[in-house]
Symmetry: C2
Subunit: 331 residues, 2 copies
């Protein structure tokens, strides 16, 4: 078929094994033969077959990235630095689409075609971490986490972040506060909702059940949630959204229904995705530093590949408040 290391060997007048060694600059090959081999390889346009190499070494230099719909700007914002970092460190990203509703098919992660995996969409009931752990596939959880004895973790300090949001709104004099939460089986939605509720409670403010809605982390949930909250008998003067996508959905509906933000109602998000900083949006939000979170996840995983004996690690990224244009004092 196409050109193999045997062809290169023949042209260079050496054995196939020497070609293999020379091309990988292994010690135990003279500079002279290296040059001859390299020249022969160049002449023939030889590219080592990765599949053969993988079969022989059990390493593929490919990492699986399990992530949701990229139409969701949050996932796009997360995937970007993941891919960039993997690329920098000499790995290719194999994207495994997880629609976040049907159970993930783990087989592509277990068939030996990957050196490890980055899981960005685990839920409370996800089987993948347990499955990968038992089979010895190294992985890291990013963004969302799940208790378990395997896998490193790189997540935002969601509790601290939600507390910052609560303190901002309380400081602005808000007392009737609503929340648009995410899926309760995600660690992010859970931690953010609970910490926000706790922080309000600490100030003697209740997060009234009638002013809390839940749904998927998407624009529609944000829009509909905004409607529901503002349609309540006594609507809130501020809304905390469990992530930016929800918040942007809420702002969308605010605009189309003639509610002014922030004079009538404040809106605060979480994540600080790139969209949030667009002039037209100017969302006040909690920054989780997505880029650092992603880079850390990749680094944790690659360190583990280098040293499988490493203990389980969990990196919590500090959250900071980003004040833009969607918050104001309570009316």
């Amino acid at each position: 078929m196409s050109v193999t290391s045997f062809d290169v060997a023949r042209l260079a007048g050496v054995s196939q094994a020497t070609v293999s060694r020379a091309l990988r600059d292994m010690r135990g090959t003279s500079e002279a033969t290296r040059r001859r081999v390299r020249e022969a390889a160049r002449q023939l346009g030889y590219v080592p077959r990765q599949t053969a190499r993988s079969l022989a070494t059990s390493r593929t230099r490919r990492i699986g990235v399990v992530i949701g719909e990229l139409g969701n700007p949050f996932y796009a914002a997360l995937l970007d630095p993941l891919i960039a970092r993997l690329h920098e460190r000499g790995y290719l990203a194999v994207v495994v689409h997880d629609d976040d509703v049907s159970e993930l098919d783990c087989e592509p992660l277990l068939d030996g075609s990957l050196d490890g995996a980055v899981l960005a969409t685990v839920r409370a009931g996800s089987a993948a971490p347990e499955e990968l752990g038992r089979r010895g596939v190294p992985f890291v959880l990013v963004n969302r986490e799940q208790a378990g004895k395997w896998g490193d973790v790189s997540v935002a300090d969601n509790r601290a972040g939600a507390t910052l949001a609560a303190e901002l709104l309380l400081g602005l004099g808000h007392r009737r506060i609503g929340m648009i939460g995410g899926p309760p089986d995600t660690s992010t939605a859970r931690a953010r909702t609970e910490a926000f509720r706790d922080a309000l409670a600490a100030a003697g403010v209740a997060l009234s059940p009638g002013l809390v809605v839940h749904g998927a982390f998407d624009l529609a949930t944000g829009s509909d949630g905004f409607d529901r909250l503002m349609g309540a008998p006594r609507p809130p003067t501020a809304i905390f959204c469990a992530n930016d996508v929800l918040a942007i959905g809420a702002l969308h509906r605010a605009r189309s229904s003639g509610v002014d933000v922030p004079s009538q109602v404040s809106v605060v998000g979480f994540d600080d995705i790139p969209l949030a900083s667009l002039a037209q949006i100017g969302l006040t939000t909690v920054s989780a530093d997505l880029r650092t979170m992603a880079v850390t996840a990749v680094d944790l995983l690659l360190e583990r590949l280098a040293d499988p004996a490493l203990g389980q690690r969990r990196v919590l990224h500090a959250a900071t408040l980003v004040r833009r244009a969607t918050h104001a004092a309570a009316p």
Copy 2:
């Protein structure tokens, strides 16, 4: 190491070859043994090694997707349906990052680890198409194209789209019109700019060189371009942007510099990325139907894998005008 088809064979009391056949439901295996083999495989948690399979068959069920920074919402909007479609058809996407400035490293596309490639970022001088073509790696160009004797093509009808934009603005009475173009070595920027210029000329309106700026397809170029155009001695009353990202950058600057769109200046984009339809943006643009373009690209490629003798094909997707809130009659 881990469990192989030999282990399954031993447990099921058959030969390894029979395991291979049974698990793939090949004709020439009795239903009884299939059941036994499947049961043994289940018991052992056997997953066929993809690398071994690939080495034996020269097929990997993986497609490379060469694409730019996903921080750019256009690429995210394009990658989403590409991945989804590949997934639907049983393929995994291996994302090969192309930073759009340094020369792409083709090796991952040539090392036999991919059945084919989708190229989304070709430029006039890109070597990849020629390289892949010569080596017999099937590929498809999506979004941007390049002349050449290999590879199928799935692109928008950029000329027709730009003509629609010109007609819209002319119809609104604009005569002093500016343009923010993209990189001149991309087929999209080129076709859109030229067709726009031609359409204006046909109406006796000149696209004055002083009112045309070029740059990368990013927000910064849109912002800076807007500044430059509006700072001209006689600023335009309408600006056509070669894509939505540029247009959103322009809108961003318009807002922060107190220029009202569309009463003072109209802005029209191209692509209709999801962002364009956000209420806060409401960009009037030309829809290229990204999703269909992506799905078509994948289908063209997979058809070619099934039948390599197929002639070269080029699918042009109709462009339509999407009227939102950034266009108005000339002041």
